[in-house]
């Protein structure tokens, strides 16, 4: 089946030479996706502040425009006009490049996300792997920011990033492999098409592992150690201001949006759904995932560094290994008998494993000891 972009290109090539149609279709496609991302990021900034307000029994920004919807635009303008300060002993080139290296991979993620039926920029047959690969690049950018700032707090944050992202990449990739096993393809459109039953029902444990790992990868609460403002000022962007800071800020929300889209596509059935048009279903699911992320931020305290690492290596990693093994066995023998048998086994597996592992992470066990 042709994607919308390919149809557009075919329509263009009737009037234009081949290379021009290719170029124009590509550029138009990129701008459409860019518009989608930037609009949603701005809306998300407003939405998160309002929602956090409700969680904390206050109002949140509500003055500018109806319900305060123009507040993020005012904030953006304020940040853009601010003076751009670069520390005297900073590595200027690295300091200047870092926000770009963080921001660009976030945008590149959206190239393989099917926003609606056939609405995908590039239906790569290595889509899922592409997500993981592109996502790993922004760690380099954060590291550049921390190093280039020549500031010890920024550098501590950069070291934490490396430890955190490298550790959480393993459970994330392993839980993705469970999905890939069920789909039998790495393509994102095929992943959506395969989800007659959404994969959150098929493998709840895989979803949980991926969700928690994604929270760590996008540096969200409770894993936001690299900008822990109570310990290391503002982490890797301590020395950033003005436009460059805005890039980090946008990148952070872009990351949250990207992971919300990825979770929607891989585990919640993407644009599939009854009655409503596909794109609306996609939006509803993305907003639901983002609300869950904000909810966690409002509820959970930040983890300590050693707890963070222990949770990745002793908690998520072995669970992800067991999960992928069980899914592989199910795909060999169980899935031909009945799909619902797989669902039942996986739900039981998830409950048992989570109960078993939660015993490892009980704090204190009633003892009062510091």
């Amino acid at each position: 089946m042709m994607t919308l972009l390919e149809e557009f290109r075919a329509w263009l090539s009737a009037a234009l030479p081949e290379w021009a149609a290719y170029l124009i279709a590509g550029i138009v496609g990129i701008f459409v996706v860019l518009g989608f991302v930037l609009t949603l990021v701005i809306v998300f900034i407003w939405y998160e502040r309002r929602l956090l307000g409700r969680f904390q029994i206050r109002l949140g920004p509500n003055r500018l425009g109806p319900e305060g919807i123009f507040q993020p635009i005012a904030t953006a303008l304020k940040i853009l006009i601010k003076e751009d300060v670069v520390p005297e002993k900073a590595d200027r080139v690295v300091h200047w490049l870092a926000p770009i290296v963080v921001f660009v991979p976030v945008l590149m993620v959206f190239a393989v996300i099917p926003l609606s039926q056939g609405a995908i920029l590039a239906d790569l047959n290595v889509g899922v792997l592409y997500l993981v690969a592109v996502g790993s690049v922004s760690a380099v950018g954060i590291y550049m920011a921390g190093w280039g700032s020549n500031n010890k707090y920024a550098l501590i944050a950069a070291m934490r990033t490396v430890a955190q992202i490298v550790s959480y990449e393993l459970p994330v990739v392993l839980s993705l492999l469970g999905v890939v096993l069920m789909v039998g393809s790495l393509s994102m459109t095929k992943t959506v098409e395969a989800q007659v039953v959404p994969f959150i029902v098929m493998q709840p444990l895989g979803f949980l592992i991926f969700f928690l790992g994604a929270l760590a990868e996008m540096n969200r609460c409770p894993f936001d150690l690299l900008e822990a403002d109570s310990e290391i000022v503002a982490g890797y962007h301590t020395e950033y201001s003005g436009m460059k800071f805005a890039m980090f800020y946008l990148g952070e929300y872009g990351h949250a949006l990207a992971y919300a889209c990825i979770i929607t596509t891989l585990f919640l059935g993407g644009w599939r759904g009854p009655v409503l048009p596909p794109f609306l279903w996609f939006l509803i699911k993305v907003v639901a995932v983002f609300s869950l992320i904000v909810w966690l931020r409002a509820t959970l305290p930040r983890l300590r560094v050693d707890q963070l690492m222990a949770f990745a290596w002793k908690g998520l990693f072995p669970m992800a290994l067991i999960n992928i093994f069980v899914v592989a066995v199910e795909m060999l023998w169980l899935v031909d008998i009945s799909r619902w048998l797989v669902v039942a086994t996986n739900i039981v597996l998830a409950v048992v494993l989570i109960l078993a592992w939660s015993r490892l992470f009980v704090l204190g066990r009633g003892r009062v000891e510091v």
């Binding site: 080139v93 690295v94 047959n125 290595v126 792997l129 790993s136 760690a139 590291y143 990449e169 393809s185």
Partner: protein, 161 residues
């Protein structure tokens, strides 16, 4: 169009590679190498090797470069790099000899061209080649065992006595 893209990528690759050698600042040299890895991934894309390109980014940019950058933190003088040693001239000779052998190999080889179109869904082919019948299952297994041995060795070395 492909020619333009190839030359752009090739030029960037050579400049980035030279950057790794020329730059005194070790951290910038490491960043230049990351750029080189990315460009090589781009060249793989133009060769229809999409799986290889993605894996190149995942492993070299996502993992190896991070390892190198962390190693950079352990070097003594990051901004000035290491001063030239007393084997400067010998090293130059060895490098020159290596360059001559390499150039001779590249020019002297009769490169075969194929008119066949590249196989499109590459993943299935690679999977079958690695794990299918008559594939390289044994090699994959041995590589896995070796890696596990290396990891356990690293942990054993790092353990507190």
């Amino acid at each position: 169009m492909f020619d333009i893209i190839f030359w752009l990528l090739a030029l960037t690759a050579v400049v980035a590679a030279l950057g790794v050698l020329v730059m005194r600042d070790v951290f910038r040299a490491a960043l230049s190498m990351i750029l080189l890895f990315l460009v090589v991934a781009g060249i793989y894309v133009t060769l229809y090797a999409d799986f290889l390109a993605v894996v190149q980014v995942l492993i070299y940019v996502g993992a190896i470069s991070i390892l190198i950058v962390v190693a950079v933190m352990l070097t003594q003088d990051v901004w000035r790099g290491s001063p030239p040693g007393k084997f400067r001239f010998t090293a130059f000779l060895v490098a020159l000899a290596f360059l001559v052998v390499l150039g001779w190999g590249i020019v002297g080889t009769n490169w075969l061209m194929s008119d066949e179109l590249p196989k499109q869904p590459t993943v299935a082919g690679i999977g079958a080649g690695l794990f299918g019948e008559g594939g390289y299952v044994l090699a994959v297994e041995i590589a896995g065992v070796l890696l596990v041995a290396a990891i356990i060795g690293a942990i054993a070395l790092m353990r507190e006595k």
